[in-house]
Amino acid sequence: MRAVEFGPATGYAGGVLTVARSEAEARLAHPALDGVRLSWASPGEAVRIVKVLDAVEPRTKGPGGGGVFPGFTGPARPPGRGETHVLRGAAVVAAGYLPRAQEGLVDLSGPAAPLSPLGATHNLVVEFRPAAGAAWEDVDDALRRGLLRLAVRLADAAVDAPPDTVEVLATAGRRNRPGLPRIAAVTNLQTQGAFKDVFVYGRRFAAALPTLIAPGELDDGAVVSGQFGHPGLKNPTYLHQNHPVVEALRLRHGHDLLLAGVVLAPEPVEAAGKELVSAHAARLCALAGIDGAVVTKEGGGNADADMALKMDALEDAGIAAVGLFAEMAGPDGTAPPVVVPPERATAMVSTGNYDERLRLPAVERALGGERFDLAGVEATAALEVPTAVVYCSLSPLGWGRLTCREQLERSIA
């Protein structure tokens, strides 16, 4: 996708996506919503999106294809096969106030833009007004379903266009290849109740035990985020659809490893739950004949405990484990970086320092709200903020290139 616009009819031609406002708004119609406003935010523009909630990549299975986002926009049947049509370069993004949502931002230009996957996409931003008297849980649910329907609609608009690229994706192999280790992505999902929950096949994942799925199920939207805590440490639906660890494993599948599957695991809030889930994830990997696992999390320090327990449990079961951690090392980068480090499985990748300050220049327009409440200023103002407020800046799924190193030379201010 090269350009976007609003127009009289929704359609796609020559790399340009045209969206008809009224038709798109109808996809979000719901008694819990009084109305929505749609706007485009495109790369390079001096625009900021504040109070960013979820982001979804437009995808469809096409006519008769069985649907994406199983459990939400289609029946909860296992997908992950056949053709998936992707409108690459676009995202549908909800932005506005919800209770418990921690305020995050995306800048489409300036130093924060390269730190977020939404800094490089054409974003159809959905702002919303809750209906009088509507329960916030219903507002959240209406937004999520509307966002997914709208994403499917945009992809459907382009389904007849010739694809720019066709990727043939590796599926998890059951057969072994001698000498190649079987690797799994172990993906922890933050599950702390309303507004901090993740959905698998349309169901809240909080009370679940770890579940083994095929990577293709992620491609077709089996995991949908409803988790609005810690903006920098969030895994939106967009990144579950484009799971970075799965992508990295696919690139090497059949060469020096075999992609053996994805284990989804909840992050319970009680210690006993964390221990049970960690032990169970390790058992599941052992049963599936996994040799090594890349373990990821969602959320802040609490989620480090899930990481540490799971990584140690995996290695105790003879499965090598590597974990992705954001460092919480204080504004100057000198504090202990991890809240709960693993004891035995000590191989960690750093996705940057949560506390490091960023200076962001003022922008021309803002979406998602008039104010950036965290700093108590106009949403368009110049800001000095911790990296943690930039949406997906510390991507626990490993999307970003941000990392930390001991300072080798004086930074030139």
């Binding site: 990295a248 090392a329 949560y354 990392t403 201010a413």
Partner: protein
């Protein structure tokens, strides 16, 4: 010519001993005391244009003192700030570290000098600390090390542990060549290949806190409630943050038998506050504490409670809160504190 400003405490600045520890910040042109020898060791290309000082108690007590001292250094057009050497002296070390940290934050390169066991080592922020001996008997060698470190920093290089640095080296954000997910796969294959050492994140070492012994006589003790549950008067009059706290607050409990719902609110951003707001005692158990007070199980409930928010708080900040709370409670005469966490 690099313009150097040198920080000393009241003793080394020649103001006075312990009796002058409360003296506020002051400044004089040129080097003072050990600064004369330091200036000579720095040699050509450096000039100590001013000396700034402060009494140890005064420097340790106030939040804004370091900024005040750095403002004096900036007034003298400092291009480099050197602090100490403080040797093993705790308050002096803390002052040197905080002044160096504040100078760095203000864009003035800085070096502090102290013994590696000085509690100030962890407080220097982004500024390097050069290790010196434990006592002032080692002044000549200490000044030599400080001068060496000053030359390194003035040349735009980073002081390394091999160069005499003690304490943590700041870890800074950089963009790696490959995304974190791809690096994780590399690391996993290396680990499967037998490399058990490789990691991008150093294992942190945490303080282990030994719990205090039980009170011998709780019935005679003042017991204070403290919390990181962010419970504040409705309206959050002091604007306590919901995450990444930089401060804490105190609110009176005098005359309160219980906390009325609606009059108190948790502003914590890390959990659903519905149940906390429905009954504020779920965060701050004033009801139970008053019962215990009436029964005589404890002496007196403290007349105020201390509160912050524990949600993504930097460890260094949390440590500072701990030091400040302990100091505050000790001065208030409290014998025990109940910390409710969420």
């Amino acid at each position: 010519m690099t313009r150097v400003v040198h920080y000393l405490n009241q003793f080394f600045a020649g103001i006075g001993g312990e009796d002058s520890a409360g003296v506020g910040p002051g400044t004089a042109a040129g080097p003072v005391g050990p600064g004369r020898r330091l200036g000579a060791l720095l040699g050509d290309g450096f000039e100590i244009v001013a000396t700034v000082w402060c009494g140890d108690d005064h420097a340790a007590a106030g939040d804004g003192v370091a900024a005040e001292i750095v403002a004096m250094a900036a007034e003298a057009k400092a291009e480099l700030l050197l602090a100490g050497p403080a040797f093993g002296s705790g308050r002096y070390g803390l002052a040197c570290a905080r002044v160096a940290a504040a100078a760095e934050a203000a864009g003035i390169p800085a070096v502090a000098a102290m013994h590696e066991d000085n509690p100030g080592v962890g407080d220097a922020g982004a500024a390097p600390v050069v290790g010196v001996g434990p006592s002032a008997r080692e002044m000549p060698a200490a000044l030599d090390r400080l001068a060496g470190a000053a030359r390194t920093v003035a040349a735009g290089r980073v002081l390394t542990p091999a160069g005499g640095r003690v304490g943590p080296v700041p870890r800074r954000g950089v963009l790696a060549e490959a995304p974190a997910a791809a690096r994780a796969v590399d690391l996993l294959l290396a680990r499967l290949g037998g490399d058990r050492e490789r990691s991008e994140v150093p294992l942190p070492s945490f303080d282990r806190v030994v719990p205090a012994a039980p009170l011998a006589d709780p019935a005679g003790a003042t017991v204070v409630l403290v919390t990181e549950g962010a419970l504040v008067p409705d309206g959050n009059p002091d604007k306590l943050e919901s995450a990444r706290a930089t401060r804490w607050q105190r609110y009176p409990l005098d005359g309160l038998d219980r906390l009325e719902p609606g009059a108190w609110r948790s502003v914590h951003g890390g959990f659903s506050t519905v149940w906390a707001n429905e009954d504020p005692h779920r965060i701050l158990p004033v009801d139970a504490a008053r019962d215990l007070e009436r029964e005589g199980a404890i002496g007196v409930l403290g007349s105020e409670y201390l509160v912050t928010v524990g949600n993504g708080t930097a460890v260094a900040t949390a440590r500072r809160f701990g030091v400040e709370w302990a100091d505050d409670l000790r001065r208030s005469g409290a014998r025990a504190a109940i910390l409710t966490a969420t």
